[in-house]
Symmetry: C2
Subunit: 393 residues, 2 copies
């Protein structure tokens, strides 16, 4: 059996999305910016896709959804846009507040900008992997121009207080950006209820194609382009439109948002079943209370077992999981979220993430429970550190 | 009959490329950066695609080909990378030389950077639409850090002296970038023979998908990322890899480069046949000598006929052409290349571009000749300016 439990890294394409994209690899190849029939033929499809996204996220007509090539582009666009628009010309407003567990596309961009005069405060998560309104706002100074905080964490699934922080930021005249990559399709994301200035998303996290994403920009909050050039996207993001993927993302988002209730009930039930089984294994720690997490994610630490070893045992059984973000998977650093939580450094290397999707079945979860338990037993039996730890305690 | 003669704007996907991409919309959906089997399954396909590109462009192993989302991204990455690496910290080297007929993604980016201390010299084309080595190098000063010159012009097809300018730049210790979007698949592009530091390309100009491109970066000439984040592309361009399109681009480039000879013989013959017929119409000007142009392109001006009107007449006959770059098509400015050539401003509004591909057939060209001639007659008959011009002369 092959079981894919790495849906926070990437997801399979919804079969309906695949079908929807096909004509754009065939006859509908015109450039939508062209004035001839080949160009005009594709425009209604683009409009439909954008309409689906406006509806799914409850975006007001006057606001922008800029199509980008991925969430990494969206995050770079916001942070570098803020740099060019505000910080480069006014070093008095050079401070950005974020969390220490953002995606690398936020952390690395800020690290780069800090070489060019940007001052960044990284707020640590608490021992549940959570972030409080108080902790975020305590980091704000008179020089703060932007707060960037993810909606839900990719590693733990912990949901961060986006509504509260966005409101507090607004009161202080501070811009607010959220990376909602791990939220859309998993929990409700309603931009009429929650008033953010910028929001990042990515299709391949909700069963759309890899290589397309978006950036919500509130009216009046435009930033200098990351891509200067042609007049696409109202001149706010240049580059020939990837029509096939935009159409695919529109349907994928509609489908994903339409399945949030299924996520909350059916996928949550399967996740909890798996989590219950894992928690019965001695000396395991699951990070964060279930009710504060996205319904599909488990970050678990198994004392005495390297995450990598567990990964390989599961992989041999046909099960895909991860030790953390795929964007950092090729380096064998300690899991950054585990480190931020402040657990024993040894434990940080024992972290393992299991992330379900709406396509995950009960049969698959039963199989994973069996294989996971076996792998834990096998690896504990040959673990010198686990035996040592037990003897020592 | 439907005839697509707007291949400099975008091209249809090679049917072989479509087939090659399919599995990556189905079972091969793993993130190539993931360590499990789903991730590992896709890596050989990525390596094959990159290998095809290294071979097709004759790139040395030690140099980088960074995959980007489009040529616009590649051009922004080079120009903003130069800004961050050199100009921001050393205003003594703040000068960039380019041409006045570059793609908007170069011109607009430079316009933006000029608000932040970059000094730009725009070299005009001569009355053939060409650029000389002498004109480019005459613009160089002690402060010049970069020369950016396209390999072939998108409007006229005129081929610019890339080899000569790159060698002259090297002698003076100036970095050299070329936007080769309109060259690849049309004329030979061999980076062993021609020593550039940076080169931009885009798949959708050579029968690959829209939304994927590349940037060649010579060893030792790395720039700060446009996308900071994950460790993809050796940490030089973050963002989850668009596996399907990378695989598609690899095959598309292999196919396109493999058909350069066909372009030079068969497509050139069809282009020349069309151009001969158009040139028989009174008071037409085709820009640039044929032998100095890519073999698929004609930029023609018909005295007394608005390019837009001609476009609509052809469109009604099922023929797709353009008045210029699709990236600027929604604004009805005068064609910028015609303006740069310095023709009568009235003529700049009469420009029309016809661009063939290796899929263009003789039957199609015969049909276009018939329809083009009819349209010119019809529009001249109702043109007040043409009658006026004739009377006046």
């Amino acid at each position: 059996m092959k079981v894919y439990l790495d849906n926070n890294a990437t997801t399979k394409i919804d079969p309906l999305v695949k079908v929807k994209m096909q004509p754009f690899f065939e006859d509908l190849y015109g450039n939508p910016n062209s004035l001839h029939q080949f160009g005009m033929d594709v425009r209604p499809h683009l409009n439909e896709a954008l309409g689906s996204m406006y509806d799914a996220l409850h975006v007001r007509d006057e606001d922008d959804i800029l199509i980008t090539s991925c969430a990494t582009e969206s995050n770079n666009a916001v942070l570098k846009g803020i740099f060019f628009k505000y910080i480069l010309s006014n070093p008095e407003k050079n401070h950005i507040v974020t969390t220490s567990v953002e995606h690398p596309s936020v952390l690395d961009t800020l690290s780069f900008l800090s070489e060019h005069g940007v001052d960044v405060t990284y707020v640590d998560v608490d021992n549940e992997g959570g972030i409080s309104l108080e902790a975020m706002m305590a980091a704000v100074t008179d020089k703060t121009i932007l707060i960037s905080m993810m909606w839900a964490n990719n590693e733990t699934g912990m949901i961060f207080p986006v509504k509260e922080v966005s409101e507090a930021a607004k009161e202080k005249g501070i811009l607010f950006h959220t990376d909602a990559v791990q939220a859309i399709g998993k929990i409700p994301v309603n931009l009429t209820d929650i008033d953010v200035d910028y929001m990042t998303f990515s299709a391949h996290k909700f069963h759309g194609p890899k290589g397309i994403g978006g950036l919500y920009v509130k009216k009046g909050k435009s930033l200098p382009n990351l891509f200067h050039g042609g007049e696409q996207m109202g001149g706010k993001r240049a580059g020939t439109l990837n029509v096939a993927y935009i159409v695919g993302m529109g349907l994928a988002m509609k489908q994903a948002v339409g399945h949030v209730e299924k996520m909350n009930i059916d996928v949550r039930r399967l996740r909890d079943k798996l989590e219950d089984a894992i928690s019965k294994i001695a000396d395991t720690i699951v990070v964060g209370p279930r009710e504060k997490r996205t319904p599909n994610t488990i970050l678990v630490s198994l004392k005495g077992i390297e995450g990598e070893s567990m990964l390989w045992d599961l992989n041999r059984a046909g099960i895909a999981a991860s030790t953390g973000s795929a964007c950092a998977s090729e380096s064998l650093h300690a899991n950054p979220v585990m480190s931020a939580i402040g657990e024993d450094p040894e434990l940080a290397h024992t972290a393992m993430r299991l992330s379900l999707s709406r396509f995950t079945t009960e049969e698959e979860i039963d199989y994973v429970i069996e294989m996971f338990t076996k792998a834990a037993e096998r690896l504990r039996a040959i673990s010198s550190t686990y035996a040592y730890t037990n003897k020592a305690s």
